[in-house]
Subunit: 138 residues, 2 copies
Amino acid sequence: MKQSGYQTKQKKQILDYLIAHSSRHITAQELTRQLNEEGFSVGTATVYRCLEQLADQGILRKYTIDARSGSCYEYVPDPCGCREHFHLKCTCCDTLYHVTCEQLDALGAHVLEHHGFAIDQTKTVLYGVCARCRGEKS
Amino acid sequence: MKQSGYQTKQKKQILDYLIAHSSRHITAQELTRQLNEEGFSVGTATVYRCLEQLADQGILRKYTIDARSGSCYEYVPDPCGCREHFHLKCTCCDTLYHVTCEQLDALGAHVLEHHGFAIDQTKTVLYGVCARCRGEKS
DNA sequence: TTGCGTGCAAAGGTTTTGCATGGCA
DNA sequence: TGCCATGCAAAACCTTTGCACGCAA
């Protein structure tokens, strides 16, 4: 829970990939596949261990939408909390939308101040129906 | 996505259990274990299938905190009366808070207008830590 | 040189699927 | 009677762990 550890090639490669794909979440499995396709050989266990470590350090955000597809990780550009975003999941097409919005940030502040409740954005998903599905269906 | 299905003993038993334990979440594994301990024999696959079906119908709410421990299900007490407010669930003490708040209503309107996304309040739960737990811990 | 990091494979957990059987409507 | 639901076991997954070897400091 403490070590920043050595700076290894693998750790760098993993973080570089996530930074290059900021604001997009990816599973450990998918990340392993991507890295190996890019010609950088890395083991599955290593990816899991690195992701967990980076998440503990607050560099990555970890969250789980569905048990079947596994946990997702994502690079957090600004750990201070200004650029955090919420997730909207369409119950119709299952698409997951990432939304950065000052209105949502304001909501978090309001709920904390007036209701004493500290929203954990990593666990919260707003469910509903997206514009595309609303247009297509009835 | 369509069938309400037959009314079988298993389905009834599962729903009864969840209703009796409202506002408490449970995993499919744990539920299977509980039911069998109560002397009601039910297969794992059946539990998974029933829970999925009930969740599709909006009777249960499904969510996943951790990929390793699996998905959790929970009975939604009053689908009609809960339409006007949001739910805040404390991940620490498992308490479910019902909050009516113009700020939350405004959020729904904003997200619909600016992001084209219609939030379904009956399916959405905001996770975080409540005031009491924040005070107790550190 | 020391000790952590890595990689492989195996283990452990949850969830899904195939198929024959049983039960609701 | 016609199907859907069930149950069992096997399969498919994701994730973690044990252990020997490699590499950063």
